[in-house]
């Protein structure tokens, strides 16, 4: 009679970990074991199928000697920085404007949100036409009589990446807006009222009081947008197919074409490891500080 409850007690104490463990196992296998596998392939001579030999850092050397990879890395930085900055600014602006007791808010909000719902396999084509100088915006402007209007970025290797940024911003602003809007709704209206009585104008109130209060929302937005930017794949393939030339190559498209198109699986694996290392370099210090803060009481 005494042993059963003690077993149950022990079970009860361990229950949370027990319930958590299946998730841990699948994430461990599906993520960390596969990362290890990728690491292994990256030091092998694998081409079409994985081959488990050891060639040292040869594939990494090959990777960094590939101009396309260097383009991909540069593009990732340009893209991430611009995409985050513009999406956050625009999302915040729209959220603030929508928060001014607007008529038809639900309708407008849906318009800003709908791009998230569409797959880029096809919206890429629509954007391609909009940005094509002889079909899209430039043609419309020229036809309207503004002859000097030029918008031909998509044809120019040095500017095409900004086209990707535009399409990506279009797709994600709604999400940032929703999170900021939620943050704004969580802020007590009396703060604004009080500041107004003090004689401060609305823009100033927002800039120096409200926006700083949105820090937690901002963090969520940054995490989700970084995720979207690192994973951007369909977008690039549909809009420019990494062109013109390979001017809009990104790490994800590079990895795909090395592994599945060019039979350079080792190089593809090396690029995956480089990408994960870059994420870790930004992520680990951030996580460390966050979790430490956590320990000292939230």
């Amino acid at each position: 009679m005494r042993r059963a409850p003690s077993f149950r007690d022990r079970l009860a104490r361990r229950l949370p970990q027990l319930v958590l463990s299946p998730s841990l196992v699948v994430v461990f296998i599906g993520v960390y074991l596969f990362i290890a596998w990728t690491g292994w392939v990256s030091v092998s001579s694998s081409r079409m199928l994985p081959r488990y030999d050891f060639v040292g850092l040869e594939q990494y050397g090959r990777l960094w000697a590939t101009p396309r990879w260097q383009t991909a890395v540069t593009n990732l930085f340009i893209f991430t920085a611009l995409f985050l900055a513009v999406t956050i600014a625009l999302g915040l602006l729209i959220a603030i404007l929508l928060d001014q007791r607007i008529r038809a808010e639900g309708f407008l909000r849906t318009i800003y949100l709908y791009p998230m719902a569409l797959s880029f396999i096809v919206t890429g084509t629509a954007w391609k036409w909009v940005m094509n100088p002889t079909l899209g915006v430039q043609k419309v402007m020229n036809d309207l009589g503004w002859d000097s209007f030029v918008f031909d970025w998509i044809t120019r290797p040095e500017f095409a990446i900004y086209c990707i940024v535009i399409a990506a911003v279009w797709q994600s602003t709604g999400f940032a807006m929703a999170i900021f809007l939620a943050g704004l709704r969580g802020i007590d209206n009396s703060i604004i009222k009080a500041a107004q009585i003090e004689g401060a104008g609305l823009p100033r109130i927002y800039w120096s009081i409200i926006v700083p209060m949105l820090r937690p929302a901002l963090l969520s937005v940054v995490v989700l947008l970084s995720y979207i930017s690192i994973k951007s794949f369909d977008l690039v393939l549909a809009l420019t197919n990494a062109g013109p030339g390979s001017a809009t190559e990104m790490p994800s498209t590079f990895m795909f074409s090395a592994t599945f198109r060019r039979n350079q699986m080792g190089v593809g694996a090396a690029s995956a490891i480089m990408m994960l290392m870059a994420v870790a370099a930004i992520f680990v210090p951030y996580l460390y500080s966050e979790l430490r803060e956590d320990r000292h009481g939230r």
Binding site: I35, A117, S119, A126, W170, A178, Y227, F233
Partner: protein, 294 residues
Amino acid sequence: MAAERSSASARRARLVGRAFIYGTLVLLALLYLMPLWVMVVTSLKSLDEVYAGSFIGLPRALTLEAWEKAWATACIGTECGGLRPYFVNSILMTVPAVVISTAIGAMNGYILTKWRFRGANLIFGLMLFACFLPFQAVILPMAQVLGRLGLAGTIAGLVFVHSVYGITFTTLFFRNYFVTIPDELTKAAQIDGAGFFRIFFAIMLPAALPIVVVSSIWQFTQIWNDFLFGVSFTSGASSPVTVALNNIVNVTMGRKQYNVDMAAAMIAAVPTLVVYVVAGRYFVRGLTAGAVKG
């Protein structure tokens, strides 16, 4: 007099302000609608008209032909049944995967915040890092795992894969939400004798509805729109709608049917659009209720 004048100028300032707000919002809305405009008008044109060089102008003659074709008769390979059958596949894939990943995420978030143990933070960190895994790198090992499990080429296999990679995100959502619920609540329930599951179902879950909405919307969008896993782990008749869409759209040596492409794209997006329109309000409300406070 003076007061009247100042109130008049204040009213004018307010009016200018409102005009600015509405003007900006409407202008941005129009910009956001531009690609949709292109898609809608193209889908309503005949193919000859598109190839004659009309890309973003209004159709000369309206026709719903492209929509019918995309839904019921477009050929995906030699199967000419349109998107319809694949639509069902996508539902069979998305609904269970969203439910499973959200349920597990909720449980994980609950454990990681209310039943803290040594290493809980580390585990959370590892889950968070996992969100950034480039999926292109895991396709081949995952294919091997699915093969071993006997799930290769099945929708059940896709449900499994989406659930695995969905857990990381849903755990993140729920953990950040549950952190804002005071520990005292669960402590009190424990003292009253409530067990692990009881606390979850009776206290946490009812309080978590907003984040359930957020997490489900996110997962639904991600899974429904996924192409990479779909094309890798299924083929032929068990493919999700994005793969079928790709087969309609991504013609290399043949002639592209732009009007059908655009109609197919919009048909494929209907479920996510509905989710956004119907649940959009709850989405913002759900986020407001604490998701962004984490």
